[in-house]
């Protein structure tokens, strides 16, 4: 259904209304509809990208160097941000759920066992193959080691990240959504306000605007907001008619503890056995999905060293620096304008050697044009034309040196927040302002992990790892907050003074309002959030089935 065809001032009702048809909303809706629950799924955008719709996401950022513009890296349309995601999946680690005294405000009100039954079906929905995240469980035979001779006491190399196609949930599940008998999907229907009863304990309705500007209302027994980690606090903060501070914000927690991830590329690993001693590429599982190993900071070490969670991948050396002598990398550097915008960011660095460097890049390409052509062909067949895409560019550097691509947990921090700004969108809703901050603890985690990794490599005698400890903070913030991961803005917890939703994702004090997505995560883990957000949504689906039964 398309809301633009609805008559003005009409009304819809349902047992459960889900707001937002991204990966979380779609997974939740499908799970409920499979059990015959009457579901209304509202999507603010349409079936395709549309600049007018996308512009509703515009907002302001406190520091443009630290945070990408708010209408980038998220999509207001069917499928949500899975229409542009990279597809990296991995579950949270058990330690992520713990209250760790060295990470302020850490600890989930649920343990890993609460999510365990939902990860495998979530993995299936994400199309990341079977739920097997160690090399031993995912593959039968012995595999080439990630780094020959590496024996880490603080780092492991046997865990995996797996990749979705990457699946656009809108395209992939549209047929299922439309076939489900008890499910109605309404596009171009943007919720602008959540209405409460007089004492604020129950949602009485949702005010919705169509893309054409008409308004209508939705009444439902149970409401789930699944609009992503930025739109959820925005809508709740903007719904001030009964609760002057916004819904679920009695204690001022809503929009705070805003986390992304801390990421960067730094250091130089030189393998003793050269490039042949390193396997930093993808392995293909039986089901066809791509898997990649990474260096993961062991939970015991996180505990003893009082660090946050941290993983790192071996990456080709810095592309701009022509000394890598690698034809493919030089070709990428010289042709960087052709690379899609979200991946181009890290190619923007100026060549440190200016014109001489450019000439050297040309020389690198000239040395191996066949290799460049072969790479281009592999990218065309494996990525552009393939239904399951080769996830990223993996190039074997000629000189056996690699940089380190890290992805670290960001601590929950009261100061880091999103709030309502002064500007308003065409429907009169305040636009969002993002004031993302990192903390000392985040720097400590990256610094500590880098030092431990260097020590592990040295002890193993498998090569050398050089990095400048003095530039860790600079490197980890070079591109600001990791874009597209919007976490923690409506955190889960047992105590309403420090959280927005309870362990069942229900807003404290509002009996029929539930939140789904990464906004409820109390901590961010090293893991990308989508898989866990979907798993948590499936858990919420089970909860809602009981409530409406």
């Amino acid at each position: 259904m398309d809301a633009t065809e609805f008559p003005h001032a009409s009304a819809l009702s349902a047992r459960v209304c889900i707001v937002g048809a991204g990966p979380v909303g779609i997974s939740l809706a499908l799970a409920l509809a499979e059990s015959g629950v009457d579901v209304l799924l509202l999507e603010a955008g349409g079936a395709h990208a549309d600049a007018t719709s996308q512009a509703f996401y515009q907002g302001t950022v406190a520091d443009a160097a630290m945070h990408s513009p708010l209408d980038e890296y998220r999509e207001r349309r069917l499928g949500g941000s899975t229409t542009i995601w990279g597809g990296r999946c991995m579950p949270f680690d058990p330690i992520d759920f713990e209250a760790r005294d060295w990470i302020p405000n850490s600890g989930w009100p649920i343990g890993p066992e609460a999510l365990a039954p939902y990860y495998a079906p979530a993995n299936q929905l994400c199309e990341a193959g079977s739920f097997a995240y160690t090399i031993a469980s995912a593959f039968d035979g012995p595999m080439k080691p990630m780094i020959e001779g590496f024996e880490g006491s603080d780092f492991s190399t046997d865990t995996l990240e797996r990749f979705s196609c990457p699946t656009d949930f809108g395209e992939r599940y549209r047929e299922r959504l439309t076939q489900a008998r008890t499910l109605r999907l309404v596009l171009n229907a943007a919720v602008t306000e959540v209405d409460l009863d007089a004492d604020g304990s129950i949602v009485t309705g949702l005010a919705v605007r169509t893309a054409a500007g008409a308004s209508f209302t939705v009444m439902a027994d149970q409401i789930v907001l699944a609009m992503g980690g930025l739109e959820i606090p925005r809508l709740l903060l903007a719904s001030r008619r009964v609760q002057p501070n916004g819904i679920g914000n009695r204690h001022g927690v809503l929009g705070r503890y805003y986390m992304c991830h801390i990421a960067g590329t730094m250091g130089l690993f030189r393998a003793l056995g050269g490039s042949d001693a390193v396997w930093h590429g993808y392995d293909v599982a039986d089901d066809g999905s791509y898997c990649r190993r990474r260096l993961a900071l062991r939970p015991e070490t996180q505990r003893t060293q009082k660090l946050g969670n941290f993983v790192a991948r071996l990456h080709h050396p810095r592309i701009a620096d022509s000394h890598h002598q690698t034809a493919v990398l030089s070709a990428l550097y010289l042709g960087r304008v052709l690379v899609p915008k979200q991946y181009r960011k890290r190619l923007q660095d100026a060549d440190p050697d200016g014109l001489a460097g450019t000439l050297r890049h040309l020389g690198n390409v000239a040395r191996d044009p066949v290799g460049v052509a072969r790479f281009a062909q592999a990218m065309l067949v494996g990525r552009k034309l393939a239904a399951r895409k080769y996830p990223s560019i993996v190039v074997r550097p000629r000189n056996g040196t690699f940089s380190l691509d890290f992805h670290a947990e960001q601590e929950p921090n009261w100061q880091s927040r999103v709030l309502l700004g002064e500007e308003r969108d065409p429907w009169g809703m305040p636009r969002l302002e993002a004031d993302w901050r990192y903390s000392r603890g985040d720097v400590t985690t990256v610094q500590g992990a880098m030092a431990l990794l260097a020590a592990d490599i040295k002890r193993s005698g498998c090569g050398t790892f050089d990095y400048d400890p003095n530039v860790v903070e600079e490197e980890m913030t070079r591109y600001g907050a990791y874009p597209g991961h919007h976490i923690g803005t409506a955190r889960m917890g047992g105590d309403p003074r420090h959280s927005v939703v309870d362990a069942d994702c229900r807003v404290h004090d509002v009996s029929n309002l539930h939140l789904a997505g990464a906004s409820v995560f109390p901590t961010s883990s090293q893991a990308n959030p989508t898989l866990t957000a979907v798993a948590l949504a499936l858990r919420l689906a089970d909860r809602l089935k009981v409530i409406v039964a």
Partner: protein, 311 residues
């Protein structure tokens, strides 16, 4: 108890015959078009669409298992002949889930016989209607029968997997497979013959918790060593069904060596959200279903060891 199996040389007929022979209560009698020199099982050579021949054969036995497949006309005429034989003896008739046509959702035996997607479905539904007056009739409606010697749901799928013409089909393989192992069909036939309360009933036959087609393809590919499977874009299947299937089918009629076609009806089935509920068979026929792991292991072992051109 003498049991006539019509279509005794077919995939299900053969298996039913063997299952009957293994019991201590049944004496199977094979009914088929061809003379067969070897074998200890009594054989009546007949045209199962010929009313007089069928009536005569039914006279000589206590019950009938009707496994006639073949072209649609034969299916209908066979049902007419069997109905006309009108013996009061128990007839276990093998119908098909195809009678439910394009229905979606969970389908039990009370669902209407839409039979709206092709001549085969229409013929199977018509056959059921012709037989409706038979007093001791038991109708079995199996889903997709797989297992050793299954040309359609084991051999063809395995051929396609090995050629990487199918694999992970995305939404194109989201349909529920409704697989049933051929041994389970044979067991259901035995129960349907013996259980007095089965008369006048229809039974869906599909393993509970059957995988979706993508899940079946992956599991079979694993057992065959045809991994990793590939995710196929939607256009690949469109090329198969729209451009390749028809010429392949025409060419294949002259030779057995050609790869199997993927007709549009097959691609449609793979994405059809239809779940046969076999709760009635589970309880009334006391079915214990072969697990998917077991069924696939046996299927793969048969496929790998079979002589070429096994039909």
């Amino acid at each position: 108890m003498r049991i006539l199996v019509l279509g005794a040389d077919g995939f299900v007929g053969k298996r039913a015959l063997a299952a009957l022979a293994a019991t201590d209560w049944a004496t199977p009698v094979a009914g088929g078009r061809r003379e067969c020199d070897k074998g200890v099982i009594e054989r009546i050579v007949l045209d199962a669409t010929d009313q007089a021949a069928v009536a005569k054969a039914v006279d000589r036995v206590d019950a009938v298992v009707n496994c006639i497949a073949g072209d649609n006309r034969a299916v209908i005429n066979n049902a007419k002949a069997l109905a006309a034989a009108g013996s009061g003896k128990r007839i276990v008739h093998l119908s098909s889930m195809a009678v439910y046509g394009s229905a979606t959702g969970t389908i039990d035996e009370a669902a209407p016989l839409l039979a709206d997607n092709g001549a085969y479905a229409a013929a199977k539904a018509q056959a059921e209607r012709h037989l409706a007056g038979v007093a001791q009739l038991v109708i079995l409606r199996p889903g997709c029968i797989y297992g050793p010697h299954s040309a359609q749901w084991t051999q063809r799928i395995a051929d396609l997997l090995i050629a990487h013409r199918i694999g992970d089909l995305g939404a194109g393989g989201d349909g529920y497979s409704n697989l049933v192992h051929v041994d389970d069909v044979a067991t259901a036939i035995l129960s349907a013959l013996r259980f007095p309360g089965a008369a006048g009933q229809a039974f869906n036959l599909a393993m509970p918790d059957a995988p979706d087609w993508n899940g079946y393809f992956l599991a079979l590919a694993r057992a065959l060593g045809a991994v990793p499977i590939r995710r196929l874009p939607e256009w690949r299947l469109k090329i198969e069904t729209r451009l390749i299937a028809a010429p392949l089918r025409i060419a294949a009629s002259g030779s057995h060596r050609l790869p199997p076609p993927i007709p549009p009806s097959l691609a449609r089935l793979w994405r059809q959200d239809i779940r046969l509920s076999s709760a009635r068979a589970s309880s009334m026929l006391a079915m214990r279903w072969t697990s998917l792991d077991e069924g696939i292991a046996g299927s793969a072992a048969w496929y790998s060891g079979r002589p070429r051109n096994d039909a």
